[in-house]
Symmetry: C2
Subunit: 163 residues, 2 copies
């Protein structure tokens, strides 16, 4: 990993996250969101939302910052890192945070601020909490194809890499 | 988009998703999960979990398939597509499904099957439903940096592209 300047206060890390958001909208990358990942006092990844520019609905700032941090560190867990996000992460990003095993997330604006700006984060939180049959997206359990066998094959492989 | 063979039954689409999962573990890409996106009767994207191979905790099969489908179609919404997943999507992938505006998701194995194979999907669903202060990941609201202004700047731009 290339050492970058060490910044020492939460406020300065958060300023970098908000600056990434501002840069993102100036470059027409997507929504007004930015995030940085800090490891051992260093900002190792900074990212903005790139949904529009990358034509990718998953390219949220937090997802992009996590992906970049993993690339820089060469591993897919970030348990020794912290995430600073300009806004409270949406459910997708929250899931990414858990899979990346981050332990601390700092955020500035809230999901309500995001809703006020026209984003669906709050709605998606409600949908996630709802039972599958009550959601606006239709989730259909399909029983015609055996799918568990491949999972058992994986689970019984002593060389599998868990994540 | 390059036309691919048209397949006509749910069962056949699901077989492709499960085949992608099986291919993925044979190639040591990551966990035993696969997904395909269908548009107008054609499979336009197929993907497996690539967390290990890509060193990316967000590289779940559903996320990968959505990203690939958007790349193929050149747009970041998939409201006219369907997703077939070998296993019930985790919360991160569920969020991605909402952001991509998919309307129907077919899945074979369940989140409990995933838990039985050692995956944390069920745990993350519980964490998402919990209040931020009750979660195992610490979420800290930071008040020292103005972050809403950049969101207002974006929201007031008549040329913004919503997603």
């Amino acid at each position: 990993m290339t050492p970058q300047k060490v910044i020492q206060t939460h406020e300065q890390y958060m300023r970098e996250a908000v600056a990434a958001a501002a840069n993102g909208i100036r470059s027409n990358c997507g929504g007004p969101f930015g995030a940085v990942v800090v490891c051992a006092g260093q900002v190792i990844a900074r990212a903005c939302n790139r949904v529009v520019k990358d034509c990718d609905p998953t390219a949220h700032a937090e997802v992009n910052a996590i992906r970049e941090a993993c690339r820089v560190l060469g591993r897919f867990h970030l348990e020794d890192c912290e995430l600073y996000a300009s806004c409270e992460p949406c459910p997708m990003c929250l899931g990414a945070i858990y899979w990346a095993r981050l332990r601390v997330v700092y955020y500035a604006a809230t999901r309500q601020d995001a809703a006020d700006a026209g984003f669906s984060d709050a709605l998606i939180y409600e949908e996630l909490a709802a039972k599958p049959e009550a959601r606006s997206v239709k989730f259909v359990k399909h029983s015609g194809v055996e799918a568990v066998a491949v999972m058992r094959t994986w689970a019984s492989d002593p060389n599998r890499r868990e994540y």
